[in-house]
Amino acid sequence: MDTIDKIAVYCCENSGLLAAGPVTDRKILDSIEIMKLPCSGKTEMGLILKTLEKGYAGVMIVGCPKDNCQFIRGSHRASKRVDSAKEMLAAIGLDPGRVRMEFLSSVDSHKFVKAVTEMWESLKIATS
């Protein structure tokens, strides 16, 4: 399996994508692959695992704040999918920290950067 030293970040276009927009830090931008989703609720466990299969270091799903999802319950659904994916990774013997869910509003650019940074740190600890 090829490894890709990147985190695939699936962003809800109403929140995560807008939060990621103003990010200019090249180190952050080069360490992620931003993928647009209409809503985090579109997330499937299969997509998360397939992304990891492709060799990505991690998968982050960024949706709206849980109770204020643009599509009412998308963030709730996504967070359940992420939990299932974590359970599956644990069952496989992989680091469940390779999947992460963030709930951000469209202006949370600093939180976006923080989340990516934190995830990288935890991934590095897990592999060291």
Binding site: T24, R26, P38, C39, K42, D67, R77
Partner: protein
């Protein structure tokens, strides 16, 4: 679903030559990747003008381009220029993707505002190429027009409903006002073409309408009171609305009587409660020998008449206690004990009253489940119509074409309820005055061969966009209701549902 053969183009908005230098354009041009067809590279000036759009439209039709990557311009809000182009050039909105080209030169170097470094060019090229890939994997969407029935159903007989009906009438609509003794039995169809079954004085009838306003008032009184009596054993409690009458019945004694008013029992209440509480307190305090204690977590007096009422009550001797967290109510035969912690001083307070009135608006209790079941409109955690979601405020709901106002969504303060009624009417007018909805046919698609009709999508859709197609025994999404969130596709256990602009192929291809 395989992508069609329509060509994908790229347009760079150069804003009158201000965004890209010649050599930059050239550099970009050579690095763009198209999987098929001739390399399409269009540059254009001032795309946000009518003229610019018209010339782009011409080029596109000449080259047979139906899908477009648009790059450039940080001048306008994200997506604004893209949707302008989509409209003017007749591209389905999903078929135009935008790549932002961030300003590369530090501020202050005004002469070359967008001089691009190699690093930036690389990132722009990467962005454009990624979007070409997405569009090449995406079908070209057609649009359809859905007529909007001009009828409006307003459910409710109170001031919010009346205000909504008045506004609608004023704007030339003929709303059906469903008053208290009438009943909404069922609601079929969707935005633009609802069919309501109504029980009115004249019997059961059906009415067509394009939109619905739910303004049915506060329906939880009975449930709320049951909740209060089940929690507190004191025999000397009444709903706040009945406090004045009950207090009048109290036999007078020389040492005087005391009466308590409790607001915010489970949740903080609004101005309507403040007004009722202050008015009742004032009225009782004026009676001989009655001392009134008003308990609240916060009093909302954000309007002049309310402020005056509040001041008046205090001047007349009403004691107002702001409490923290929960208030405890216990009772013996003679009195009701109200105990709490003072929010300001932090000390415990206990007041013995002969009678206490509980405001029911602040009590968590069963909600308007019937209306929710009929319409599909979510209830919030307190059982009020309209889910607890910022995107729905003030008058929207999870169901396109259905709006809420007033008491049923928790606002019982008449001036505000009326304002909401008018606002909901405005929303309806904004919708229906279009006469028809232009709908891009990019809604969730169900593969009939795979669909097991397990109903998961129907249960999961937040907008009631998924229906059962009984003839074909398959689930189907209604394009004008579907919000393209893809939750159904995310849930479908048969992988029968795809959101055409976000198929697995499109998503996975981006990952390389």
């Amino acid at each position: 679903m395989s992508a069609d053969k329509d060509k994908t183009g790229v347009v760079l908005c150069n804003c009158g030559g201000r965004n890209f230098k010649k050599e930059e354009i050239k550099s970009l041009q050579t690095r763009l990747q198209f999987s098929s067809g001739e390399n399409l590279f269009i540059q254009s000036d001032a795309l946000c003008t009518k003229e610019g759009a018209a010339s782009l439209k011409e080029t596109m039709s000449k080259k047979g381009i139906k899908k477009l990557v648009f790059a450039g311009c940080t001048a306008k809000k994200s997506g604004e220029t893209a949707s302008f182009i989509a409209e003017k050039c007749r591209i389905a909105p999903s078929n135009i993707l935008e790549v932002t080209v961030p300003a590369a030169t530090p501020e202050g170097e005004k002469d070359s505002p967008f001089g691009m470094k190699e690093e930036l060019i690389r990132s722009v090229v990467k962005g454009i190429n990624k979007h070409i890939g997405i569009l090449e994997g995406m079908e070209t969407f057609a649009t359809k027009k859905v007529p909007l029935h001009q009828g409006v159903l307003v459910v409710g007989g109170g001031s919010a409903a009346q205000a909504a009906a008045d506004v609608l009438t004023g704007r030339g609509y003929s709303p059906i006002l469903l008053e208290k003794e009438d009943e909404l039995l069922s609601l079929q169809g969707q935005v633009g073409s609802f069919t309501a079954t109504l029980s009115t004085g004249g019997g059961v009838k059906q009415a067509d309408c394009g939109a619905v306003i739910l303004a049915s008032g506060f329906s939880r009184e009975k449930d709320a009171w049951t909740s209060v009596t089940s929690r507190f054993a004191s025999p000397h409690l009444v709903p706040l609305s009945k406090l004045a009458d009950a207090a009048a019945e109290l036999p007078r004694i020389p040492s005087g009587r005391s009466v308590g008013i409790v607001l915010d029992l489970d949740v903080d209440e609004g101005k309507a409660s403040s007004e009722t509480a202050c008015r009742t307190a004032l009225q009782l305090q004026r009676q001989d020998g009655l001392q009134v204690y008003l308990f609240c977590r916060d009093i909302r007096v954000g309007s002049l008449p309310l402020e005056e009422l509040y001041d008046d009550a205090r001047d007349r001797g009403v004691v107002i206690v702001k409490y923290e967290n929960q208030i405890r109510i216990s009772g013996t035969n003679g009195t009701t004990l109200l105990s709490c912690t003072d929010a300001v001083l932090g000390n415990p307070i206990q007041v013995a009253c002969d009678l206490a009135g509980i405001s029911l608006y602040g009590v968590a209790a069963g909600g308007d489940t019937r209306l929710s079941e009929i319409t599909g409109v979510d209830l919030d955690s307190l059982g009020r119509l309209q889910g607890n979601n910022i995107h729905l405020f003030a008058t929207g709901t999870n169901i396109p074409g259905i709006f809420v106002a007033g008491g049923c969504r928790g606002n019982v303060y008449p001036p505000e309820a009326e304002r909401e009624g008018r606002a909901a009417a405005g929303e309806v007018d904004l919708l229906l005055s279009q006469k028809e909805l232009k709908v891009e046919l990019s809604e969730a698609k169900v593969d009939a061969d795979k669909c097991a009709l397990c109903l998961t999508c129907i249960r999961a859709c937040p907008h009631n966009a998924m229906k059962i197609n009984r003839e074909e025994s398959v689930a189907v999404s209604v394009p004008e209701v579907c919000q393209r969130c893809g939750i159904c596709a995310g849930e479908c256990p048969a992988k029968a549902i795809t959101l055409p602009a976000y198929t697995d192929d499109i998503l996975l291809a981006q990952l390389g």
